[in-house]
Symmetry: C2
Subunit: 809 residues, 2 copies
């Protein structure tokens, strides 16, 4: 009933093993070479984990050859190596372009070792030569201070997938395959990672992979039975159930099982040949005759022992095939002579003397097994996306401007203007086929629907007449999974393409951890000289906390701002355009930028338009500026500064300034608007930050500042710390007060309404102290009045017309 | 090949429809009653979405009877209603205890309507009576200002699952079923939600559900074909593929398909009977003979049209059965008379006059269909967990104390002490069976392994001899999915039990959005008088950024602190115990607390122990206190305050104070340690906050404060804003500087080493200005020296022995 099982499998007869060893496409010579290449790869893997000297055992192993601290994951590595070398064979036989994504990324020494064996590592890191000295250095760097991490990571040649946080290998793989018709993405899925939600949801990416224009993803589900200490759930399933699971997700499963290397080599070689044939047949058919339904893509299920070829037992307890092989099977080799001897036996069991020549180079007949040049998976340019990146052909964003003759009069759904620009980006880059929009089924809801004039939703499967703009050829990627949207886009940009992820603000937190990890990737990439810059990852949030009033509290949360704020300024950017023209300018900037995570937040509801295009451009170039039209300090010293960041806060702030002019005409008020939130940091802290001088020019030296903020209010204090007299900055913002109510009550509940802002300003100006109680009472009366009005005239969206800012200038 | 298809199904012959209508367990009378109950439920659903008056159409429908703003999701509601009333039948026939989790939670009006029909709504909200006036009020409250949200939410009777952020219905369902042997949790999974990663990963919870001691989860996958505008991916699959998918996840699929109500009623009734029988058979077998392998649980696949019984067409375009039924099929009923008439026709098609009596009460023969009392799903006490909550039997945490005779001498892995306490909590509550630990396969790694002395890992499936503490009876829940751990625990606590979620700090961000939503749930629950308090959700992070040095940058990130900080102080708590005794005190407090999300962060590596138990208790009760033993201000006014929060920062701070005493003996230094991070807020902002007086007593009025923080450093500025002279607070903390390196280099890279802190203190004290350059140079020399030492003696963990704080007093 079950497939591979350590107890059963060892019982397979010698005769059966011999039969398996010849029942495949490999000649005895090929088989021998493959086996030896595998030995070399496993040897280099173990050496990295254990050795700091004597890397090829040219002398007997002594305790001081072993690293003081043993780190790394052996368990998954022999499987990763096995797959790698068999893919090499396929690449050479078929001249295929293949990249390798290691889901069990903790098997870093395997992937690093492979890159070293095929020479790429030495090309990228010349100090690590392809000989004995290089191997010694490779070992010494692995998982040591300032060295390379124990998992697959940015410095690993050929990787577009960090092996840290698990769950994303399949979404990255599909993102890499989109619009790369000749590419095969081999995605190894660990049986541990398979338990994670994002991975489980990513299998169904098959419904979005078009065999005519996209490349192929070949998932290889590697079942070795255990996680750190518990069993991997899916590994305990019967083959029948696994076959059903994969079929239900759109795949045909091919099983390769065993613990007899020759038999497994033959089976895996035959299976890869079969899978490649299937992939090419599917693609040929689709490219000749069109795409009519979802093809059944091949997937491989590989059952081999955990820590295969490692110690069978350690201290009398089984190691190979169990969770005890997960990391380092014997950890006290410096102090336990028996374990040291066992390590030496283990290393020598691979016969390094037959694999490497006297200089420590891989012997020529083995080196010949690896593909050459850019066909090496570790050197495939798709895995260094910046190398194949083609600039987007972006139309002039001014062409989509809203005509603003007077500020704060007309209303528009601002994202619509961006939607038109994205539409034309689709058109202009149709041939390059290097732009996609990713969205959880909300493209229309987010007011980006103009893209459907030229582009369809992507769906590979049965379509119906009543479907709306649905086609296997579409490049608008709608799937109800923030994880898939984010993961696909990450894979798409890291392989040298462009895109936008548009989603609901509150639910952007669902994939926040992925955005964090991507920011970390980009940050590390700056330290890796051979990595070329890639397009930024653009996140657009248009269904925001202030106007999710009908959905209620669960839909109200601007938390992604806080998450992005703490990341390094060199890689994250946060933009809060107050209207359509600013959004266009920001959007253009973000789409042209490289190596950032750009977060753009703007509401989708009809909103006041403030700036004409030329003013908007200057404003966005500055990132922050004084809005003289909304101010009455006449360029002099104000009594109070009203700062704002975000569209609703801007509207309330501008209205507060207007209201203050009515009830306290002698109060000099300055309005400062912030588009680029990072501008508020001190420049020492963030490259976009302001100097103290700039800060004082905007916010004065010591005058009170009432600041209305789109996000959680206290975040502003985190940002401005270090600037002069920041204790005078009084912030209103989202304060986790929400419910199903009117938009106006949302600003009331969070104490950010125009009247709250006005009252706060009055309270903070010393010279008003006598009149303050009366004036504040006036403000408070207006809050109550406005609240009642808004409730009664519920249909009067988006705000109370009577109180907009139209009567000055 | 495909199952339900709007075009195919309508073509089913009248004869076939008649056959289906009688081919089931319902007598013609029962069938008629069920159909009418469904009509009543659908009527009340549509009424809530559209009507503000004339709720039973006692007069012709006029425009002013219609709400000004139409919000709500019709599309999913008829299906939710259908399932609800059929479950009612099952409950009555079998006297079953069932709760209902609506994954497509936007169908709020359906669930609210059902609670109203069966009387619970009026019991919980007496103003909403069970008659005409009550129905009018119900309609007026639905999705209106200060009313009830359009989705299933905290105020919805019978709910333990918010229908906002999608993806968690199955994990919540399994969490509710654990240790509830008599409960059946009906979990409706929408075909949209099914695309999300967390949902996809939750199917496999079957590997953790023990039929002998747990209740049952009955998933009902509702395929109605569309999301907001695109097709739902799984809905386009063939029945064969869906059957395979479910089988691969451990279920036997039962299909119910159609658009002929009588036929579907018969099929669904028969199917529910069959599923119930299967569930009971599985349980009977396991309870009699034990659990030997994973049973194959039943699951239902229900294919019915989206917006079933709604308008077939609107303006000549198909509505029923398409995405145009997703929300409100006709949105301009106040301005478009034809649509108003169509709405009236639609409402009258349910024949309200035959469903409700003259007072607007459901007619008796229909009311009799609902279960009574606590058997009503809307009144089942498991869905109001506080009602069935039993206090944990917690041993005296002092019994697990580390004996600390002198501060900062001995080292311990602090979480081990808590692990021993958790072990005894398992033992003491074994009979109540109301405590579980949830962890992504890291219980040992997180140093909580003592629990395995009395408790096993849970796994329902094939076990092997080499497995470690693995049993279907285990209550340590290890699965490599933060989403499952968090979701199960949420479901477990909301149904009245207790637990802890222990995970890696960096990857706690994976489920951050769930923790946010849970905090929102708890916050809203405070406003719902009938909701009884539930146990807090405890999150324990022991693999932290400062000591994930070997895993590298992707594993280093304290972001969950920032996420929790922005939530309302009434529901979130953050604790940073500096050592084992503080951890025990904090742990005890959190396990006894109610209605919070508690975040506890402490490192798992051997660390210095500072406080004996009695001191630790006092310290934790204060949340923050001056550490006189580490200070040399002799209770007087210090020159500088060294503040700290978190274990590594505490160690560095205490060492910095020690070092300062050596190089600047005349400098008066005060050390202040923070356990309860919320204590740093002003009391106006957070209930745990300090008054200005308390703050000044700790940190002085205006002396410089050098603060070492576990998390992202600028977060402290967000917290302390509002206290006196906060510009003098200079924070060091995690600054997104990380790599594979030594623990000491981690604090160096982030400029938080003892020497960095000492140098900062020296720079900030005015009277040292002359000597500062020289002293700072000394500090900097020590940084370089220490760094080199740490690199060379890599094995010398966890820090440089030579420089610990042992020589004062």
């Amino acid at each position: 009933m079950y497939g591979f099982d350590v107890t059963i499998s060892s019982a397979v007869s010698a005769q059966e093993q011999r039969r398996r060893a010849t029942a495949g496409p490999l000649s005895p010579e090929e088989l021998d070479l493959m086996q030896r290449y595998w030995q070399a790869a496993n040897y280099v893997t173990v050496a990295q984990i254990y050795l700091q000297d004597n890397p090829l055992l040219r002398e007997p192993l002594r305790r001081e050859h072993v690293k003081p601290r043993l780190l790394g994951h052996w368990g998954t590595s022999p499987g990763l190596n096995l797959i790698y070398l068999h893919l090499n064979r396929l690449i050479k036989e078929e001249d295929a372009s293949v990249i390798y994504l290691a889901g069990p990324g903790h098997g870093g020494p395997a992937l690093v070792g492979q890159a070293w064996l095929e020479g790429t590592y030495s090309e990228f890191y010349p100090a690590v030569t392809s000989d004995l000295a290089g191997l010694r250095l490779l070992c010494r760097r692995f998982s040591t201070p300032d060295g390379v991490p124990s998992h697959v990571s940015v410095p690993t040649p050929g990787s577009v997938h960090e092996g840290g946080e698990l769950g994303y290998v399949l979404s990255h793989a599909f993102g890499a395959a989109f619009d790369n018709p000749d590419l095969i993405v081999a995605a190894v899925v660990g049986d541990g990672e398979a338990e994670s939600g994002p991975l489980a949801g990513a299998w169904r990416s098959t419904a979005f992979l078009n065999p005519a224009r996209d490349g192929a993803v070949l998932p290889i589900l590697h079942l070795n039975g255990y996680k750190i200490s518990g069993p991997a759930v899916i590994s305990r399933d019967s083959d029948t159930d696994i076959e059903a699971f994969l079929r239900g997700n759109g795949y045909q499963a091919h099983f390769v099982e065993g613990d007899d290397p020759p038999g497994v080599h033959q089976e895996l070689a035959a299976t890869l040949d079969r899978c490649h044939e299937q992939i090419r047949a599917i693609q040929r058919e689709a490219r000749r005759h069109g795409v009519f339904d979802r093809p059944r893509w091949p997937a491989i299920v590989l059952r081999t022992p955990k820590g295969w070829t490692g110690p069978k037992e350690v201290d009398g307890r089984p190691a190979e095939g169990t969770f005890r092989s997960h990391q380092v099977p014997m950890s006290d080799t410096r102090t336990n002579p028996a374990h040291l001897a066992q390590l030496e036996d283990w290393l020598r069991s691979y016969r390094p003397e037959e694999l490497f020549d006297e200089n420590g180079r891989l012997v020529p007949e083995l080196a010949a097994l690896a593909p050459a040049g850019e066909r090496r998976m570790s050197a495939n340019p798709h895995a260094n996306g910046g190398k194949v990146l083609i600039d987007l052909n972006i139309p002039d964003f001014r062409d989509y401007a809203v005509k603003v003759e007077q500020p704060a009069v007309i209303r528009r759904e601002s994202p619509r203007q961006l939607g038109m620009m994205l539409r034309d980006i689709y058109s202009r880059n149709a041939e390059a086929a290097n732009f996609r929009l990713f969205c959880p089924d909300e493209t229309n809801s987010n007011r980006l629907g103009n893209v459907f004039e030229v582009e369809n939703r992507c769906f590979v499967g049965r379509t119906l007449d009543i479907d709306d703009h649905l086609s296997p050829d579409g490049r608008v990627m709608e799937v109800l999974s923030e994880h898939l949207c984010e993961g696909w886009l990450e894979g798409y940009t890291l392989t040298g393409r462009h895109g936008v992820f548009a989603t609901y603000e509150a639910f952007a937190m669902v994939s926040a951890s992925m955005a964090v990890q991507h920011a970390k990737w980009l940050q590390e990439a700056r330290n890796v000289p051979w990595r070329e810059p890639v397009a930024s990852l653009n996140i657009l949030l248009t269904s925001t906390c202030w106007r999710n009033d009908h959905n209620g509290f669960s839909h109200q949360g601007p938390g992604l701002i806080d998450v992005m704020l703490s990341k390094r300024g060199t890689v994250t950017r946060i933009y809060l355009p107050p209207d359509a023209n600013c959004l266009l300018s920001v959007g253009d900037h973000c789409l042209r930028s490289r190596d950032y995570v750009n977060l753009i937040v703007i509401d989708k509801q009809p909103q006041l338009q403030f700036l004409d295009m030329e003013t908007a451009i200057r404003h966005c170039e500055n990132g922050v500026s004084i809005w003289h039209q909304a101010s009455n300090d006449d360029g002099g010293d104000p009594d109070v500064v009203l700062g704002c960041a975000g569209d609703i806060p801007t509207m309330e702030t501008v209205a507060a300034a207007w209201y203050l002019r009515r009830i306290v005409p002698d109060l000099r008020v300055r309005v400062v608007n912030v588009v680029d939130l990072m501008r508020l940091f001190p420049v020492e802290y963030h490259p976009h930050g302001t100097t103290d001088k700039e800060f004082v020019e905007l916010f004065t030296e010591d005058k009170p500042v009432v600041f209305a903020f789109h996000g959680y209010r206290r975040a502003i204090h985190e940002i401005v710390h270090g600037h002069p007299h920041v204790g005078r900055i009084h912030v209103r913002g989202f304060n986790e007060q929400g419910t199903t109510t009117t938009p106006f009550q949302m600003v009331v509940l969070n104490e950010m309404s125009r009247f709250h802002l006005a009252a706060e300003a009055i309270r903070r100006v010393p010279r008003l102290s006598n009149r303050a109680p009366d004036l504040v009472a006036q403000c408070e009366a207006r809050i109550a009045e406005a609240n009642a009005y808004a409730r009664e005239h519920f249909e009067d969206q988006p705000e109370i017309r009577d109180w907009v800012w139209t009567d000055h200038d």
